[in-house]
Structures are given as structure tokens and as C-alpha cells.
């Protein structure tokens, strides 16, 4: 029961190790679509520790899960800006903020919020990220300029297609959940 926060912490520490961080950051798409989600996942694992430690805080301030959902969305959108990704590579303070904000301000609140959310909010979140990812994919693929100074244009286009594929997967899920009645299996 208390093991998953330990695994989460180990994952976070492994991601912070300079060789691992440098490897993932050397390619644009692994920076955004591997390192950043893994940081969020480490937060998902660690959430139990905080929930057990401060049960009152989460049940009072995140009772219906919406504040946590908003916090998660804000942090994710922030890290989708071309500038923040660039500056994580050139400014140490931004890099440190990345390793703190993604696990603790995105992963932890998402874990706490998800079971509390009604299916309306869950679908709203997936629809929001589908639209966001389509827009970002469009931006990175068809932008006439190089958006990030630290990456080549070809990497920018690869990242754009990564966004489009992820959005496509989410659309498939939404269609599937529209036609399926999950309650039959629960």
C-alpha cells in the first residue's frame, strides 16, 4: 500500500539524474512527450503519500475535484508553450520549476481529483486536451518559423505529429466511450 509513493520518488530521482535528463531533453519529442509525462506519472504515484499525510487538506479544498483538475490543466498548458520548453534548457530556474511543478502541481492533483470527478468533467478534460493537442500539432507542423531556438525545425515537425497522433488516440477513446456503456463492466 505504501509502496507506490516510494516508486514515484525513485522515478522522479531517476529522471532528475543529469544523464537521463540530458538524454530525454536532447530530442524535442522525448522532452515533451516522454520526460514531461513521466514526471506527471511520478506525481501520480507519490499522491498517496500526500493524501495520507494531509487528508483534511485534500477533502476540504478539492472536495469535488475541480480545483485539482484546473491546476493540472494550467501546469500542462504552461509546459506546452514553446518558450518554457526552450528556457528549461537554458535557464536553471525554469528547469528546476519543471521538475517540481509537473510531479507535485500536476500529477498529485490529478490523482486526487480523478476519482472525485463526474463523468462530465472527465470528458471535458479529455475534449479540452484533444483540442489543445490538435492546435499545438497544427502550430508546430505548419508554423513558418522555428519556434524553439534550441531545436531543429525537423524536430519541431516531429513533435507536431506526436501531438496530432495523441489527439487522434483521444478522439478514438471519446468515440468508444460514447458507444460503450462502461457501467456494465464495473
Amino acid at each position: 500500500m505504501m509502496k507506490s509513493p516510494v516508486y514515484g520518488l525513485l522515478l522522479l530521482l531517476a529522471l532528475i539524474l543529469p544523464p537521463a535528463a540530458n538524454l530525454l531533453e536532447s530530442i524535442m519529442i522525448t522532452h515533451m512527450h516522454m520526460q514531461m509525462p513521466l514526471l506527471v506519472i511520478s506525481g501520480l504515484f507519490m499522491a498517496k503519500f500526500f493524501q495520507n499525510r494531509f487528508p483534511g487538506f485534500f477533502s476540504k479544498w478539492n472536495e469535488n475535484g475541480v480545483p485539482g483538475l484546473l491546476l493540472f490543466s494550467i501546469i500542462m498548458v504552461y509546459w506546452s508553450l514553446p518558450r518554457t520548453m526552450d528556457e528549461a534548457l537554458t535557464l536553471t530556474s525554469v528547469e528546476v520549476f519543471k521538475f517540481i511543478s509537473l510531479p507535485f502541481l500536476a500529477g498529485v492533483p490529478l490523482r486526487d481529483s480523478w476519482p472525485k470527478l463526474s463523468s462530465f468533467w472527465k470528458h471535458a478534460l479529455i475534449i479540452f486536451f484533444t483540442i489543445l493537442f490538435l492546435a499545438l500539432g497544427w502550430l508546430y507542423i505548419w508554423s513558418p518559423v522555428q519556434l524553439c531556438n534550441n531545436y531543429l525545425v525537423i524536430e519541431q515537425i516531429t513533435l507536431g505529429w506526436g501531438f496530432i497522433s495523441t489527439a487522434f488516440a483521444m478522439v478514438v477513446y471519446l468515440i468508444y466511450s460514447y458507444f460503450m456503456d462502461f457501467s456494465k463492466y464495473e
Binding site: E63, N64, L71, I74, Y78, L81, R83, T84, Q146, L147
Partner: protein, 210 residues
């Protein structure tokens, strides 16, 4: 006491945090890419052109103070570049043609600086300049042979150059204008030649009036 209101309150706090975060992260909703942040910062700082030694298309060497008392219109390039640089230089020649002729050479100097000094020797630069209608005098192409000096200039002007695996470089491009005292005063979009020419002419005109 009002559990419903409490989540509204915490949602509001989260939204405020988000607004502050985005405000700080984008310099007050001004700069969403590192490039626009760089340009804004350069225009604020007005960095001084370091005193580097240039070697131009005629093989002449001189320091940047050679151009003291003139505005200098600068681009950064390397001649083996097949993508942005030719476009950048074509656009530079557009600006060159649009500036009233009597300013050229007296009030303003055009200068293309190569950041690939190993391949871009004076002979290569001389061949390259002809392709873009540069006369080699009022518009010169030069390299900075000293690596340390080149790096100090690129750092100060925020030019980021990344070599890729095919012997090419990825780099950010812009038009730079340095004033007669050697300070960088304008960083302009290299795709908008008319705007750049208008802006430069305006600055030259006000420079003459002073």
C-alpha cells in the same frame, strides 16, 4: 461551513496562480517563444558590439571600429547554408535597394557576418557576395577568424547557432541595426523587408537632423 463555496474559492486561487504563472512566464503576455523574448530583451539592453577583428571579402582585416560614425545593418550567415541564409541575403539586398542612395556608404554600412570562419574564407565570401548584388564596399561580407571573439559577439547579440549532423547549422535569423556608437538598437523581422527599409530610413533621417 460552505463546502461548495470552498471549492469555488480554491478554484479561484488556482486560476489566479495560473494567471500569475503565465504573466511571469511570458513577460506580461508579450513573449510566447524564446525568440520573441530574446528580441525584446535585446531592444531593452542595447548591447555594445564587441571590438572584434573582421576579415572581409577582399581579405582586408580591420576592427569593428572601422565603421564608427555610421549605422551598420548586420545579418549573420554561413555560405554553405541552403535554406534560410540565401533568403536572408536576398531580403537584405531588397532592403539595400530600398534605402535612399545618398545614405549608402556615408550614413549606413551593410555587413554580412559569417559564423563559419573555417569554410568561409575571403575567396568564398567574395564569390557568395556577387550572387546577391553586394558591391563588397558599402555592403561587405566578413568572417571573424578568432573563435573566442566570434563567440562573444554571438552571445551578446543572442544569435544561437546549433550545428546539425550534416555539417549545417540551425540558427535564428534577423536584421540587426547598430548605431554610430556601436550599440545594437533594432532587431527586425528579416521577412518584412519593406517595414525594415522604412524603419532604417526613418532612423537615418532623424540621425541626419541631429
Amino acid at each position: 461551513m460552505f463546502p461548495k463555496n470552498r471549492t469555488i474559492l480554491s478554484s479561484l486561487l488556482v486560476l489566479m496562480f495560473g494567471a500569475v504563472l503565465f504573466y511571469i512566464g511570458t513577460d506580461g503576455f508579450q513573449a510566447f517563444t524564446a525568440e520573441s523574448a530574446r528580441v525584446n530583451q535585446l531592444m531593452d539592453e542595447k548591447p555594445q558590439f564587441p571590438d572584434v577583428t573582421l576579415e572581409d571579402n577582399n581579405g582586408r582585416t580591420y576592427s569593428f571600429s572601422e565603421f564608427e560614425g555610421k549605422y551598420v545593418f548586420i545579418t549573420f550567415l554561413y555560405t554553405s547554408c541552403g535554406t534560410v541564409c540565401p533568403e536572408l541575403e536576398v531580403n537584405m539586398s531588397e532592403v539595400y535597394k530600398q534605402i535612399p542612395e545618398d545614405y549608402i556608404g556615408h550614413d549606413i554600412q551593410f555587413l554580412s557576418i559569417s559564423f563559419d570562419p573555417e569554410r568561409d574564407d575571403p575567396k568564398t565570401l567574395d564569390t557568395y557576395r556577387k550572387a546577391f548584388g553586394s558591391d563588397g564596399e558599402t555592403w561587405r561580407m566578413a568572417r571573424i577568424p578568432d573563435k573566442q571573439e566570434l563567440k562573444s559577439l554571438l552571445d551578446r547579440f543572442g544569435v544561437i547557432v546549433i550545428p546539425d549532423e550534416y555539417g549545417n547549422f540551425a540558427h535564428n535569423s534577423a536584421f540587426y541595426l547598430v548605431n554610430p556608437k556601436g550599440q545594437l538598437i533594432e532587431v527586425m523581422d528579416y521577412t518584412l523587408t519593406e517595414e525594415a527599409a522604412d524603419r532604417v530610413t526613418e532612423i537615418l533621417l532623424s540621425g541626419r537632423e541631429e
